[in-house]
């Protein structure tokens, strides 16, 4: 028989090494599958339930393909791959009913927990779906939600200090296992890496739990698989899922133990010390005794700040202006709105006593300083007359009437240049 050796030295049915590490927060984990790396974080929120499911909590999955993972991933774009992966994750974890959503109900029809699972791909070296499904289920197992109690109509939410947060109730742990097919299904590989994925003909993903129950199955790439092949794959998947589940449980127990004993936990502990690329430094005291002198020295050397004389103008309570403003050389951007305001004559300003005279003139000028109005038959064509008119008020009323008679399609375009008298 042909002995296949893969590029990274694995045999056909070998998985890459799986490493699971937990953060300091509950529900936070990083799963490494060889060099593929996924960050998972679970969070929760109290929301009102969906109308047709009044007593069920909501599960939400979101896998993000960060640009960090591979340069080809663009931020803010829903690629086909991303949609496919998200859908597969939902089928694997939500539709398999591995989380008891009814236990997430607080008040039927009013308040339920929404559990949100955020997954970030940090490094893409093939087989994203397996790594993501492991990260999702590990994060869900690790997560603790705040405790709530309901007494009559009163719902009390307890902080972690008052009552220990409670874990989610998880029925089973579905895990995806991927198979890559080559040469129309002649060759089969488990856990393809990125290079193998690029040349594969077809992909079969089987999600299964440790009781050998298939949760979802998906074949993509357009190859015809024989019944035997699918059966063989499901057998292999059963073995792999059992191994992975054991590994997950061991990792979870380990983290639990360390937290209970008050030992050190979190990502800092999972950094391998022996690596030359890693380095740690203990808490460092900083001598700040001379800081005060230094600061005084700098301030004494610095030039004293300029005396700022500001006379704030309070137009209306809550808003004000410093300075008087200069002429706007940019033309008017939002003319039509302003027009209404100015004409309305409802400019009530509370003016500070000291500058009453200055601004008083200003306000009175606004109405009469309006410059010319331009009419245009088409909306594209805009003409601006910059010469100030002798009697603008009169013309404006006339022109507006004129346009209104012309019908609704012809919109008057008014441009004016505001000019202020310098007080």
């Amino acid at each position: 028989t042909l002995c296949l050796q893969r590029l990274d030295g694995r045999q056909t049915y070998d998985y890459r090494n799986i490493k699971i590490s937990f953060g300091t927060d509950y529900g936070c984990c990083i799963v490494e599958l060889g060099k593929t790396r996924v960050l998972g974080q679970v969070s929760c929120e109290l929301v009102s339930p969906k109308l047709n499911r009044a007593t069920e909590g909501i599960l939400f999955f979101n896998l993000e393909l960060s640009q960090m993972a591979a340069p080809a991933f663009e931020p803010g774009r829903q690629s086909d791959l991303l949609v496919k992966l998200n859908r597969l994750l939902e089928r694997c974890l939500r539709n398999s009913k591995c989380i008891d959503t009814e236990s997430l109900c607080v008040v039927a029809g009013e308040k339920v927990w929404q559990i949100r699972v955020d997954l970030h791909l940090l490094n893409h070296d093939g087989n994203i779906i397996d790594a993501a499904s492991i990260a999702a289920i590990v994060a869900l197992c690790h997560f603790r939600r705040p405790d709530v109690s309901v007494q009559g109509d009163e719902v009390t939410l307890y902080t972690p200090e008052e009552r220990d947060p409670v874990p989610l109730s998880i029925h089973h742990m579905p895990i995806c296992v991927s198979f890559a097919f080559f040469q129309q299904g002649t060759y089969l590989l488990v856990d393809p890496n990125e290079r193998e994925e690029r040349v594969m003909d077809g992909l079969l993903v089987i999600a299964m739990n440790k009781h050998r129950e298939i949760c979802t199955i998906q074949s993509s790439g357009g190859i015809m698989l024989l019944k035997d092949q699918v059966l063989r794959c499901s057998k292999i998947a059963g073995v792999k899922v059992l191994e992975i589940t054991e590994l997950i449980q061991k990792a979870l127990e380990n983290d639990q133990k360390v937290r209970k004993e008050g030992g050190k936990f979190g990502f800092a502990e999972s950094i391998a010390n022996q690596r030359i690329t890693a380095f740690k430094m203990e808490k460092a005291p900083i001598d700040t005794s001379d800081v005060e002198e230094k600061a005084e020295e700098i301030i004494s050397e610095a030039e004293p700040p300029l005396e700022v004389v500001s006379k704030p103008v309070l137009w209306t309570p809550g808003t004000a202006q410093i300075g008087e403003g200069i002429e706007n050389s940019w033309g008017d951007l939002e003319d039509s709105e302003k027009e209404d305001e100015d004409e309305g004559g409802s400019d009530e300003a509370i003016i500070l006593d000291s500058i009453k005279t200055d601004t008083g003139v200003e306000i009175s000028n606004i109405g009469s300083q309006d410059a010319p109005i331009v009419l245009s038959d088409s909306e594209e064509e805009e003409m601006i007359i910059l010469e100030p008119d002798k009697n603008p008020k009169k013309i404006r009323t006339q022109t507006i009437h004129a346009t209104q008679e012309k019908g609704p399609s012809k919109k008057p375009v008014k441009k004016r240049k505001k000019k202020r008298t310098a007080n």
């Binding site: 990083i30 960090m68 340069p71 979190g266 990502f267 800092a268 808490k283 600061a295 500001s310 410093i322």
Partner: protein, 299 residues
């Protein structure tokens, strides 16, 4: 405040100047600290909003926005006579860093400060999209991704701060018509997140071998209501603080590359925080040096 004038004093663009006298009064009467914090926050958000508005109107570049933010935060001109007692020991939390942990990016680093952790990946100098191409220097892009949900305004503003810092030190002119992309992923936020992002970005840039005129680091200071300041605050300390100041400093002259602040503080307090950050930066740079020595020395 020059930009207010350039807006032609249309009523909608006028900024709140009430801020000024409430702040003045507030500091003398010393009301409830949380109230002051609230005002300070409002000031900052307003400053940002007005800065943005101005940008959209006049199409000016980023330095102007920074400027406006800096002027806004310069409130409370009285001297820091109330600086009060200070805790004798300011400490940095434990640091950890691992470089080159991702296989796909050209450079990567995960940086931990206490429980705060950020992962950074750098691609570059690489091919650049035609519309982003700059003919005489590299296009620097920074992407910051939050852990939960989609990136929002807070992330965009941080991205900009980090990008401006990187641009100040990266020798982009050596690689014209290329792109340098820094992708940052928040792994956990337990205070001083921006400082941690800056440190992670620097270590990843070093790992990628991007030419830089100096290294940079981020240091966050928090000012308490009674005038004590702490370095590298935790999330809880940041929440209780009257003001939080983050500085980016370069390794050659310890000069300020970027500063962003939130809350109220005096001139003297700003200078004190800056001086403390400069002292702390020596420790961070020593950490950089030792971790690189460990990696590249032969023994």
């Amino acid at each position: 405040m020059a930009f207010l004038d350039s807006l032609g004093g249309s009523r909608r663009d006028q900024i709140v100047s009430k801020r000024r006298d409430t702040c003045g009064r507030g500091s003398r009467r010393a009301p409830h600290p949380s109230w002051r914090l609230l005002i300070g926050y409002a000031v900052c958000t307003q400053a940002r909003a007005s800065g943005r508005k101005r940008q959209s109107l006049l199409h000016v570049g980023s330095p102007a926005m920074e400027e406006s933010m800096q002027t806004e935060t310069k409130v409370r001109p009285e001297s820091g006579a109330e600086s009060g007692p200070r805790s004798p020991s300011c400490t940095l939390r434990h640091f950890a860093c691992e470089q080159n942990l991702l296989s796909r990016p050209d450079g990567s680093a995960s940086f931990l400060q206490g429980d705060t952790s950020v992962l950074a990946g750098v691609y570059g100098p690489a091919e650049v999209k035609v519309r982003k191409e700059i003919f005489n220097k590299a296009t620097l892009e920074v992407i910051l991704r939050p852990k939960i949900g989609l990136p929002g305004v807070a992330e965009k503003s941080r991205e900009r701060l980090i990008r401006n810092t990187c641009e100040a030190v990266v020798l982009g002119a050596l690689h014209p018509r290329t792109s340098i992309t820094v992708v940052l992923q928040v792994i956990s936020d337990a205070g001083s997140l921006l400082a941690c992002c800056l440190n992670a970005a620097c270590m990843a840039l070093v790992d990628a071998g991007v030419p830089m005129r100096a290294l940079f680091c981020g240091v966050t200071c928090a000012l308490d209501s009674d005038g004590t300041f702490m370095l590298d605050p935790t999330a809880k300390q940041e929440k209780e603080a009257r003001a939080v100041l983050t500085f980016a400093l370069d390794s050659v002259e310890r000069k300020l590359l970027m500063s962003t602040t939130k809350g109220l503080y005096s001139d003297a307090e700003l200078q004190q925080c800056l001086a403390a950050a400069q002292t702390a930066s020596q420790h961070v740079f020593r950490f950089y040096r030792e971790s690189l020595q460990r990696r590249y020395s032969k023994s």
